[in-house]
Amino acid sequence: MNVKITTPFTKEEASKLRAGDIVSITGTIYTARDAAHKRMLEDYEKTGKFPFDIENAIIYYAGPSPAKPGQAIGSAGPTTSYRMDAYAPKLLDLGETGMIGKGARGKEVIDAMIRNKAVYFAATGGAAALISSHIKKAEVIAYEDLGAEAIHKLYVEDFPAVVVNDTEGNNLYETEKAKYRTL
C-alpha cells in the first residue's frame, strides 16, 4: 500500500499507518541528529522553546553533505537512528509525531510511539543522492555552528519511506526478518 502523507503530521494520520506501508511524504520536515538533539533538549530545559514547532512535526535524522552551486541540498540520506534513542521519548511526549531514519529503535522509543500515537519511518540508508532529489528547499534554521549537524528546515515532495514501527507496536524489521530466515 502506498500512502501519501502531508505535514503537519497529526496523531490521527499517524494512527492510520501500519508497519510495512510504503509512504511518500510532502511538506515541511526538520533535520536533527546527535548534537542538535542534545542541544535542542538542553535549550528546552532553559527556555521552554524549540527552534521549530514540535507539535505534529516530523524529524529527519540526517546530516547532509554541502550543496553544490545550483543544488537545494547535497546528498541527504538517513543516519542510524538508535543514537537518538536517548532523546526521542522526550520529544515524542512533547508532540513530535514522526521520525525518519534507518535501523532499529529501542524499547523506550517504541513505548513512547505507542503512548503518543507516533510512527517511525525508514528511508533507504546510503541512497542519499536519490533521496535529495525529493528535497526541494533547504535552509538552516538553528545551530549553524554544528555544520552538517545544524537543524535544516526542508520542503520535501514525495519523500520515499517505509513505516517500520506503528502506533500499535508492530515492528517491520522483526516481522520481515522472520519471514526470510532459514538459518
Binding site: A62, G63, S65, T124, A127, E176, K177
Partner: protein, 280 residues
C-alpha cells in the same frame, strides 16, 4: 633514491577522496545487480533497485553516493628508496583530504575530540596506516568509511580453545546484532590473529579486497564462503527489511598470533564501501 613531491601526493589524495565518494566501484555495483536478480523479497528488491539507482545518480551528477562521506582512512605502502620532497608525507596526505573534502562538497564529519566534539571543518585528520617495503614506489589507498557501519564493528579476544567454530559464531553474532543499522547489504571485513590492534587493522584491510575475491588460504576461503551463506540466511536482507541479500562479501585476513591468543576483529561496512588507489 627516487624523489616524489608532497604537492603531487596532495593532488592525488584530493582526487581520490572525491572519486571514491562519487563513483561506486564496479565490483560492488555488479554484486548489487546480481543480488537484485536473485533477491526473493519484493521489498528487498525495491531497496536494491533504489541503491543501484542512487549509484547511477551520484555518478551522473558528480555528487556523493552517501552523505556520510566518512573519515578518510588511508593506507600508505612506501618503498624504502622513496624520498618525499617539499614537505612531510603526513602533511601532504592531510592537505589532500582537506582539499578533496572542500572542493568536492564532501561532508566534514570529524570532531577534534571524542568528548568535546568540535567539528574540525575540513575532515582532517585522516587515519593513516604506513607500511614500509622494498623498492621506490609509493602506493596510496583511500577508503573513506561512514560511521553507521563502523559503529557496528566488534573485536573479540577469544581463547585458542574457541577454535574456528568460535570465530565463525562471533562473526555471525556481530552481523545479527548489527541488523538493519549498517545499511545492508554489508561487506564484512574480518581480521583473525595478530594481537589487539593488528586484528582490527587486518579487518579494515580486508574491506579493501574486491567483492568476489577470496583468501588464498584454503581454510580461510572455506570460512568466507560458509559465513556468507549463513549471513544471507539470517533473513535481515537489504536495509534490514527482509530478504536473502544481507552481505555481498565476507573478506577475511589472517596473521600469526601468540600461543595464548585468538583475536577476531569484525569491521562491518555498508553497500557504499569506498576504495580508490594510486601508485606513484
Amino acid at each position: 633514491m627516487r624523489e616524489i613531491s608532497a604537492t603531487l601526493i596532495t593532488e592525488e589524495v584530493s582526487k581520490m577522496c572525491i572519486s571514491a565518494n562519487y563513483f561506486l566501484n564496479k565490483d560492488i555495483y555488479c554484486a548489487l545487480e546480481n543480488a537484485k536478480k536473485e533477491e526473493v523479497s519484493p521489498v528487498g528488491q525495491e531497496m536494491l533497485s533504489q541503491i543501484i539507482k542512487n549509484a547511477d545518480i551520484a555518478k551522473e551528477n558528480n555528487v556523493p553516493i552517501c552523505q556520510d562521506t566518512g573519515l578518510a582512512v588511508v593506507f600508505v605502502t612506501i618503498g624504502q628508496d622513496v624520498h618525499i620532497t617539499g614537505g612531510s608525507l603526513k602533511d601532504a596526505i592531510n592537505e589532500g583530504v582537506r582539499k578533496g573534502y572542500t572542493e568536492g562538497y564532501l561532508r566534514k564529519s570529524v570532531v577534534s575530540d571524542p568528548f568535546i566534539r568540535v567539528n574540525t571543518k575540513d575532515n582532517t585528520p585522516a587515519i593513516i596506516h604506513y607500511d614500509i617495503v622494498e623498492g621506490d614506489k609509493l602506493k596510496i589507498e583511500i577508503a573513506p568509511k561512514g560511521a553507521g557501519s563502523e559503529n557496528m564493528s566488534k573485536i573479540y579476544m577469544m581463547k585458542p580453545s574457541d577454535g574456528i567454530e568460535g570465530a565463525k559464531k562471533a562473526i555471525l553474532d556481530t552481523v545479527e546484532a548489527a541488523g538493519p543499522n549498517p545499511c545492508p547489504p554489508m561487506i564484512v571485513g574480518v581480521g583473525c590473529g595478530g594481537n589487539f590492534e593488528t586484528a582490527a587493522i587486518l579487518a579494515k584491510k580486508a574491506l579493501l579486497r574486491p567483492v568476489g575475491s577470496h583468501s588464498d588460504k584454503e581454510h580461510i576461503r572455506e570460512m568466507e564462503e560458509e559465513l556468507l551463506e549463513k549471513i544471507n540466511s539470517t533473513g535481515i536482507g537489504p536495509q534490514g527489511l527482509g530478504g536473502r541479500t544481507t552481505a555481498l562479501a565476507v573478506n577475511i585476513e589472517s596473521f600469526a598470533t601468540h600461543i595464548a591468543c585468538m583475536p577476531i576483529a569484525i569491521n562491518i561496512s555498508c553497500h557504499v564501501t569506498r576504495h580508490a588507489v594510486c601508485e606513484l
